[in-house]
Amino acid sequence: MNKITFIINGEKRSIYVEPNDVLLDVLRDKLGLKSPKCGCERGDCGACSVLLNGKSVRSCLVFAIEVDGCEIETVEGISQNGLSVVQEAFIEMNSFQCGFCAPGVVIATTELLRKNSTPTKEEIKEALAGNLCRCTGYTPILEAVEKISHHNKHNSDNTGGTNE
C-alpha cells in the first residue's frame, strides 16, 4: 500500500492505494464518487472522464498512485455550488436519454468551455469526439453546447464571461 495525497473537488485527501489500483475504482469504491462511470475500462468510451489538474482524462487509464499531489474534479465537484451553465443547458435541451454518458460529457464540455468560451461546431465535435453516446445521436448535446457558445459570443463584450 502506498499513501497518496491529492485535492478532490476542493478538499485535500490522503488515502492508501495498491500500485495497480485504477483511479476510476478508487474514486468510485474508496471515495464514493459515483459520477465517473465505467463503460469500457480501456479508454474508449469517455464515461469515466474526470478533470485532472484541469485537463479531462479517462480515469480508467490512470493509476491512482499517479495522482499524488494532483487536483481532481468530478461532476460531484462541478455540481457542489448548484448547477453549472453547462448542466443547465443540458437540462434545458433535454440533451440526454439514459444519461450514462452524461457525466463524461459534462466533464469534456466543462474543459472545452474553460479553454474556449465560444467554440465553433467543429471545435465542439472535436472536444466531444471521445465521448460515446448510444442513445441520442448527439444532436441535443451539440445543440446545448452551441447554445452556450452563442450566448457567450453575444455577451463577451459586457462580461468577458466565465463559463460555469
Binding site: R28, D29, S79, N94, G99, A102, L132, R134, T136, G137
Partner: protein, 734 residues
C-alpha cells in the same frame, strides 16, 4: 382537440439527476458489505463438460462458488422457449457459455480465484458459425439445425411469376449487431429471509421475476424485482437480466450478503444477446405497368445456440418483410437456424431492420433493372387507404405512407437536389454524391394476439395531498417513458404535470403492465393509464384545482390513498389467427420515410453522410423533443448498422469485443438531420399516440444502400456497406 400537457416539451423527469451524477445506476449502489460476483464460462465453442476443478492448493475460504447442483428449482432460462440452461451441466454450445459462478468481497481476490479454476471440456472441434454452415449441416446442433419455421401466404406466386413481365431475384445478408448500451449489464441481489431481491439494469422486471421463480421455485411474493437507473438497453436488457439476475441471486443465497455482478465490456459483447444475423432470398415479379404482383421470400435468422425468444423476432421480421406495398401474390418462408454462437435476442426493430434491408434495397434494384425511377416504382405500388397487407389485414384510414413520401419530396425539393447532385458529380473527379430513400413502417405493441395474452394492468394512486403516482412496471431506460406516461396522466386528469410522479418500478409496488419492449409503452400502457384516469374521474368529479383538492380530501376521508387500475382492452375488430398467420398482426402501424444524401470518395470508397431527412407519422406526438430524440438516436444507430457495425467471428468467438474494433458512430460521424412528424391520430392510443421507439431503426440501412446505388450505380447486398465491398462492386461494374 387541443391538449395542455400532451404535446408540450416538459422537462424530462430524470434529467437533473443524470447531469449532476446523482442518478444511481446499478454499479453505483454500494452496500456496506457485499460480494463481487463473476461468471465462469466455457473456454471452447462446442463440447461436453467433464468437470470444474478448483485448485486444491488455493485458499477458497472467503469465496462463494455456485454450479448447477446448487440450483433449488429448474436449471433453465425462462423465455418464449425455455431451452437454455441457466448453468451448463453437460453440453457446451458456445464460447463463454455460463458453467459456474464465483464471488468474493474483493475484486482483485476474485480475479485470483478465477485464475485458479480449471474447466475440463471434451472439445468438439467442429462448430457452426454462420447461417450457410448451419444449413449445410456442417454439424447438427439440433435436428436439421432448425428451431422454427413459419409461413405467410396469399394468392398464387406460381401464376404470379408466370404472368410477370419482369422478375428479379437476389440474396441479402446482415450481420450481428451489438446493442452497445454504454452501461454494461449489471445486477445486484440479496435475500431478506425467504425473499429474493434483485435490483438492476433491466427492461422487464416481471420477466426477471418469472425467471427467478422458476430457478428457485418461489411464489410472486417472495421475489421482489426493482429497476435501477438503466444506462441504455435497446432490447439488450430485455432477456439477458433474466440470466444475470438468477446468477446473482444464486450467489447471494450462498453468500448471505448482497452480490453485485457487473459485466466487463468485453464479456458483455462476447456473451450477451445481439441482433440476429439474416440471409434473405427475395424474388419480385412486376407486370408491364411495373405493378409489383408477386413476392417470394425466404427469410432466415441465425438464432444462435438456443432458441429462447427467436420465434417472435422471426414473426415480426416476416410481418414487416413485404414493405409498404399492396401485393396480390405473396409467399414468405421464415426459418430460424441454430449456430454455435450466443443466443441472439431483442434489439430495437426486432427482425424488421433485417427484412426491410432486403425489401427496400431490392425495390431500388428492380427499378434500376427496369429503367424506371425508384420513386416512381414506389408510387405505383404503395398500399393505399382501404388496401391490405398480405396477412389480409385491411388498412383503412391508418395508412400514411404516401403522405410521408410526398412530404419528404417537398422538404428536400427533389428536382433542385437532383440537379445539384448531378452537377456535382459531373464536375468532380474524386467524389460522387447520391440520394436514396427507404419507405417503412413499424407495428406497435406485441404481435398478433400477444397483447391479449399479456393482459397488462396499469394504474394510478391518488395520495392524500392530491399528488398522483403512476403505477407501471415499464422502465425508463432513456427513451423518456416515465416523462411521457406522466404527461398522459396529467392530461387525462387535467392536473399540472408536477402533481404526477412515478412510483418506483418494483414488482411489489406496481402491477404487471407488461415488458418495456415492442414500442408498446406509450401506446398500449399509456392507453391503459388514460382509462385508469377516467375511472378516477368517474369516482371524483372536480372542476378546478382548488375544487380538486377539496374533493380529494372528501373522497379519501381517513384513507391515505386510493388506487385505480385498468386492464388492456383489445380494440374491437382486431382478429389474429396464430396458426395460419392471417389477420391483424398489429393494432396499428407508424409510417416513415428516410431520404439520405451521401458522398463517396472514389479513392478510399468511404461513405460520408451529408444529410438525413426523416418524415414519420407516429400519431399524436406526446413530447416533440423526446420524440425527435428517439428518432435522431435511432437514425444514428441505423447508420452504424448500415456502415460500420459488424461482429467478427474468429476461432469460434467474437473477436472484436471492444469499442476500438466494433465501431459505433461518434459525434464526428453524425450528419445533418431533419426530423419531422405528420400526425394521424390513432383512435386506440392515448390522445391519438402510437409507438415510436423501434421505427427509426428500420429504414437506415436500405436508405444508405440506395443512396450508394444512386451515386455509383452499384448494387450491394451485404451489411455493413464497407469501403471494401463498395470498391469491389465499383471496380467489377466499371
Amino acid at each position: 382537440m387541443k391538449h395542455k400537457v400532451v404535446g408540450a416539451n416538459v422537462t424530462r423527469v430524470d434529467v437533473k439527476e443524470k447531469v449532476t451524477g446523482a442518478a444511481k445506476y446499478t454499479d453505483d449502489i454500494q452496500p456496506d458489505s457485499f460480494y463481487w460476483g463473476a461468471q465462469i464460462g466455457s473456454n471452447v465453442v462446442s463440447g461436453v463438460l467433464k468437470g470444474v476443478i478448483k485448485n486444491p492448493d488455493f485458499d477458497w475460504s472467503d469465496f462463494v462458488y455456485v454450479d448447477a447442483s446448487d440450483i433449488p428449482g429448474e436449471n433453465e432460462v425462462e423465455s418464449v422457449v425455455s431451452d437454455m440452461p441457466l448453468l451448463a451441466t453437460k453440453e457446451i454450445r458456445y464460447w463463454g457459455q455460463p458453467i459456474a459462478l464465483l464471488a468474493h468481497r474483493d475484486k482483485h481476490q476474485l480475479e485470483e480465484g478465477l485464475k485458479n479454476i480449471k474447466i475440463e471440456i471434451e472439445e468438439n472441434p467442429i462448430y457452426v458459425s454462420t447461417i450457410d454452415e448451419s444449413l449445410s449441416l456442417k454439424k447438427e446442433i439440433i435436428p436439421q439445425n432448425i428451431f422454427k419455421k413459419r409461413k405467410i401466404e396469399r394468392g398464387d406466386i406460381e401464376s404470379g411469376f408466370e404472368n410477370a413481365k419482369y422478375v428479379f431475384e437476389d440474396i441479402y445478408y446482415t450481420p450481428h449487431q451489438e446493442q452497445m448500451y454504454i452501461e454494461p449489464n449489471a445486477i445486484i441481489s440479496w435475500w431478506e429471509g425467504e425473499k429474493i431481491v434483485v435490483k438492476g439494469s433491466m427492461q422487464c422486471p416481471y420477466y426477471v421475476q418469472a425467471s427467478i421463480k422458476t430457478v428457485f421455485h418461489k411464489e410472486d411474493k417472495d421475489v421482489e424485482i426493482i429497476q435501477a437507473y438503466v444506462g441504455g438497453a435497446f432490447g439488450g436488457k430485455e432477456d439477458y437480466p433474466s440470466i444475470l439476475g438468477a446468477h446473482a441471486a444464486l450467489l447471494a443465497m450462498k453468500a448471505n450478503e448482497p452480490v453485485k455482478m457487473v459485466y466487463e465490456r468485453a464479456q458483455d459483447i462476447s456473451i450477451t444477446t445481439k441482433r440476429h444475423p439474416s440471409k434473405t432470398t427475395i424474388k419480385m415479379g412486376f407486370d408491364e405497368n411495373h405493378k409489383l404482383t408477386t413476392l417470394q421470400m425466404e427469410f432466415i435468422l441465425d438464432g444462435g445456440s438456443y432458441e429462447t425468444m427467436s420465434s417472435v423476432i422471426l414473426a415480426r421480421g416476416m410481418l414487416h418483410a413485404f414493405g409498404p406495398y399492396e401485393i396480390p401474390n405473396v409467399k414468405i418462408d421464415g426459418i430460424i437456424v441454430a449456430t454455435n454462437t450466443p443466443p441472439n435476442g431483442a434489439f430495437r426493430g426486432f427482425g424488421a431492420p433485417q427484412s426491410f434491408f432486403a425489401t427496400e434495397s431490392h425495390i431500388d434494384y428492380c427499378a434500376l433493372k427496369m429503367g424506371i425511377s425508384p420513386f416512381k416504382l414506389r408510387e405505383i405500388n404503395f398500399v393505399q387507404r382501404g388496401g391490405s397487407f398480405p396477412t389480409g389485414q385491411l388498412l383503412e384510414n391508418d395508412v400514411m405512407i404516401r403522405e410521408v413520401y410526398d412530404e419528404l419530396l417537398k422538404r428536400v425539393n427533389y428536382p433542385v437536389l437532383r440537379k445539384e447532385i448531378d452537377d456535382f458529380n459531373s464536375l468532380s473527379n474524386t467524389k460522387r454524391r447520391g440520394f436514396g430513400i427507404a419507405t417503412f413502417f413499424h407495428g406497435a405493441g406485441f404481435t398478433g394476439s400477444g397483447e391479449v395474452r399479456l393482459a397488462s394492468i396499469a394504474g394510478i394512486r391518488l395520495d392524500k395531498n392530491g399528488k398522483v403516482a403512476v403505477l407501471v412496471a415499464n422502465t425508463e431506460m432513456g427513451q423518456g417513458a416515465h416523462t411521457v406516461l406522466s404527461q398522459i396522466v396529467a392530461e387525462a386528469l387535467e392536473l399540472p404535470f408536477d402533481m404526477i410522479y412515478m412510483e418506483e418500478v418494483n414488482t411489489q409496488k406496481v402491477p404487471n403492465s407488461g415488458p418495456t419492449v415492442a414500442s408498446r409503452t406509450t401506446m398500449i400502457v399509456g392507453e391503459v393509464l388514460r382509462r385508469a384516469c377516467v375511472k378516477m374521474r368517474d369516482a371524483i368529479k372536480y372542476n378546478s384545482l382548488d375544487d380538486y383538492l377539496e374533493k380529494v380530501s372528501q373522497y379519501l376521508g381517513d384513507k391515505e390513498s386510493e388506487s385505480f387500475f385498468q386492464q388492456h382492452l383489445q380494440p374491437p375488430k382486431i382478429k389474429w389467427d396464430d396458426v395460419n398467420y392471417r389477420g391483424d398482426a398489429y393494432g396499428t402501424y407508424a409510417w416513415a420515410i428516410y431520404g439520405v444524401e451521401i458522398e463517396v470518395d472514389l479513392r478510399s470508397f468511404e461513405v460520408t453522410l451529408k444529410n438525413i431527412i426523416s418524415v414519420m407519422d407516429i400519431g399524436e406526438v406526446v413530447h416533440p423533443i423526446l420524440a425527435s430524440g428517439q428518432i435522431e438516436g435511432g437514425i444514428v444507430q441505423s447508420m452504424g448498422y448500415a456502415l460500420y457495425e459488424n461482429i467478427i467471428f474468429k476461432n469460434g468467438r467474437f473477436w472484436n469485443a471492444d469499442f476500438t474494433n466494433y465501431i459505433i458512430p461518434s459525434i464526428v460521424d453524425i450528419p445533418k438531420m431533419d426530423v419531422s412528424f405528420l400526425n394521424n391520430p390513432y383512435s386506440y392510443g392515448p390522445f391519438g399516440a402510437k409507438g415510436i421507439g423501434e421505427l427509426p431503426m428500420n429504414g437506415g440501412a436500405p436508405a444508405v444502400n440506395n443512396a450508394i446505388k444512386d451515386a455509383l450505380g452499384i448494387h450491394l447486398t451485404k451489411l455493413p456497406l464497407s469501403p471494401e465491398q463498395i470498391m469491389e462492386a465499383y471496380e467489377r461494374d466499371l
